[in-house]
């Protein structure tokens, strides 16, 4: 091979974009507020991740603000992967009596949690003296026990939070629109349902939130959306239990009167709308940037807030709130669908159209599996259904691609792919793709593909017969411009090729390298070397340049020069 060709090849590949691992410390979650009744065995916090693929938990901070006489609790902590494997099991720690007592558990080494894990951070609290470890909130007794009746109008604790769980960790920086899940659960295990809601026993309740990183995410990771994954996570059946007299007068939720459920609401609106009993407005007016859960039933609403402290500089979360409409739009955002083929504006030259549609169910706490994956082809002119495919969801298959050839008559179509529930209501974003089926006699007669729309963009179709230049251009486009169809075929081949050996090992390795997090907990430290940052940080750039230069020389001398084309 000529040396010039080798140099060109070298430059072409060497200047290709490289990847870098980047990361930042992530304060994964905080749950604050809530209640521990003496009859509650444990409190669990759960979370899982859709992105990134793994996270190292470095610390769980359990802080028990016990009222006098309600402290002296015993705390232990378990981190479980959700599949019965214990990742961490602490010894039992004592928390002294009185306010502000607490403890934390440092994970050394860090507990690595994979994407597929559902992580339980479980604390078991036992009141030493048999009295209640009492609870919550700014002038509200949302979840309380003993003298503080649950949602019954007797504030306890003088506005001091009783229980706080913080989970610290590090992870790669989520990209825009990545979703990070977390959640919490009041659990009644192990023996009998003991968690009571104003005297009413509740079954296990599970709710969780997710953060969605906004498009303009920078230093902050924003968007706490209070979302309940269960259809009715808190069903309040006793009217007396909710007869607190709160009249939220919230236009956003007026339509929901009569429904039951759990809803997250924002502090500002609560501040402006809720009156009565001083429940959340005092919190809101205090300037806290808090989120609230609203529990509603017929004509009445109740709140307990989850984050009763002003955010500090340590907290990178910037809290954003969504209206109920937004909430509903995001409710099934864990279901992702994409029409891979045909691509937008494809013009097929045959009536046999290849469809490739990907369906994904992201890891969540959503236990509802009664839904269907579906895509359908409708006429772009009269919306008439031409073809439909659907399959009941298989929980074991979180990611699959439906591929098939479908015979369609000549015309223009829109293929729409989505998830739907048992009532055939669409419960996910819909991916729509417009395409056309146009058979052409040229291909039928010659067996060669006709230049497609992209080629036509370059070609001049209004040439006069004797316009030599124009006709020549058309000829060149016809001869040498590759059709989109053939390029699309290579794209589909790559989709397959990247997962099978030996290329699958290359892509898996590259993915793993990209996910390395340079802010994770280090295995060892070099200590506090004076002027470390001022010396080593600038040197990184120089050393990197030297490494790339050395590699370039080596690559050219020992690889490209000996490569056989």
């Amino acid at each position: 091979m000529k040396i010039s060709v080798k140099i060109a090849l070298f430059l072409a590949v060497f200047l290709a974009p490289s990847f870098t691992a980047f990361a930042q410390t992530l304060y994964i979650n905080q749950w604050q507020g809530g209640a521990v009744d003496q009859s509650i065995d444990d409190f669990r916090q759960t979370f899982t991740l859709s992105e990134p693929s793994a996270v190292d938990l470095s610390r769980v901070d359990l802080r028990l603000f016990g009222a006098n006489g309600g402290g002296n609790a015993q705390i232990s902590l378990i981190v479980d992967d959700g599949n019965g494997t214990t990742r961490y099991d602490s010894s039992v720690e004592s928390v002294p009596d009185g306010f502000g007592s607490g403890t934390f558990f440092d994970f050394t080494p860090a507990v690595t949690v994979e994407t597929t894990d559902t992580v339980w951070v479980e604390s078991t609290l036992t009141s030493a003296n048999g009295q209640n470890v009492r609870v919550i909130g700014e002038q509200s007794d949302v979840l309380a026990g003993g003298a503080c009746e649950l949602l019954n109008g007797n504030p306890c604790n003088n506005g001091i939070d009783d229980l706080r769980i913080r989970v610290y960790g590090t992870t790669t920086t989520p990209a825009a629109n990545d979703i990070v899940y977390f959640g919490f659960e009041f659990d009644n295990e192990p023996t009998s349902p003991q968690y009571t809601f104003n005297g009413i026993q509740l079954s296990n309740e599970l709710s969780h939130d997710f953060f969605t990183v906004p498009d303009d995410s920078g230093e902050t990771i924003g968007g706490i959306w209070g979302v309940c994954r269960e259809p009715d996570p808190f069903i309040i059946s006793n009217q007396a239990a909710i007869d607190r007299g709160i009249n939220p007068n919230l236009s956003q939720v007026q339509n929901n009167i009569g429904e039951k459920g759990l809803y997250c609401f924002d502090g500002n609106t609560v501040d402006g709308g809720v009156q009565g009993n001083g429940v959340p407005q005092s919190v809101a007016s205090s300037g806290y940037n808090d989120g609230y859960y609203i529990i509603w039933d017929t004509g009445a609403y109740y709140f307990f807030y989850k984050d009763g402290q002003a955010h500090t500089t340590f907290d990178p979360f910037s809290v954003e709130y969504q209206t109920r409409n937004s909430f509903e739009q995001q409710y099934e955002s864990d279901k992702v669908v994409q029409v891979i083929q045909p691509t937008y504006a494809t013009t097929t030259a045959t009536t046999s159209v290849f469809f490739s549609v990907n369906f994904q169910q992201l890891p969540t706490f959503d236990l509802v599996t009664d839904f269907t994956t579906r895509y359908e082809v409708r006429s772009a002119t009269n919306n008439e259904l031409v073809y439909g495919w659907e399959r009941d969801w298989v929980p074991q298959s979180l990611n699959f691609t439906q591929q098939e050839f479908v015979e369609l008559p000549v015309g223009s179509y829109i293929v729409s792919a989505f998830f739907q529930n048992e009532e055939n209501s669409i419960i996910s974003e819909t991916d729509d793709v417009f395409f056309s089926v146009i058979t052409n006699t040229y291909e039928q007669q010659t067996g060669l593909p006709f230049p497609d729309a992209s080629a036509g963009d370059l070609s001049q179709n209004d040439c006069t017969t004797f316009d030599v230049g124009c006709q020549f251009q058309r000829a060149m486009v016809f001869l040498f411009y590759p059709s989109d169809a053939v390029l699309n075929r290579f794209q589909s081949v790559w989709t397959t090729l990247r997962d099978i050996p030996p290329f699958g090992y290359v892509t898996a390795t590259l993915d793993s390298l990209e996910q390395l997090d340079d802010t994770a907990t280090p295995a060892f430290s070099f200590g506090n070397i004076p002027f470390m940052s001022s010396i080593f940080t600038p040197m990184h750039g120089y050393i990197s340049s030297i490494l790339w230069a050395l590699f370039a020389i080596w690559f050219f001398l020992h690889r490209l020069r000996h490569i056989e084309i």
Binding site: V13, T20, L497, P501, L547
Partner: protein, 87 residues
């Protein structure tokens, strides 16, 4: 037409190779290699304070990508040479 025809020929060979390779099944995303890479993370973090380990990993990634494509090219070339009548 000419470029498309050439690409179609290449496509046939690629599909033939891919069809053979599909017999090996798919590579799990949690294999020994990825586990090993994840295991070096704490050491990577420690060394990254004084040395641009990320650059080294980028170079490794670049080499892997290059060799992967070169391997694919060699496979196509080999399969092409097996066509009767082609030297």
């Amino acid at each position: 037409m000419i470029t498309t025809a050439l690409l179609n020929v290449i496509y046939v060979f690629v599909v033939a190779i891919v069809s053979l390779l599909r017999g090996f099944g798919e590579v799990s995303q949690e294999n020994a290699i990825t586990t090993a890479i994840a295991a070096i993370q704490p050491y990577y973090v420690s060394l990254a304070t004084i040395f641009p380990v990320g650059t080294l990993l980028s170079i490794v990634g670049f080499v892997l990508v290059f060799e992967g494509f070169y391997l694919l090219y060699k496979l196509i070339k080999w399969s092409y040479s097996k066509v009767p009548g082609i030297n």
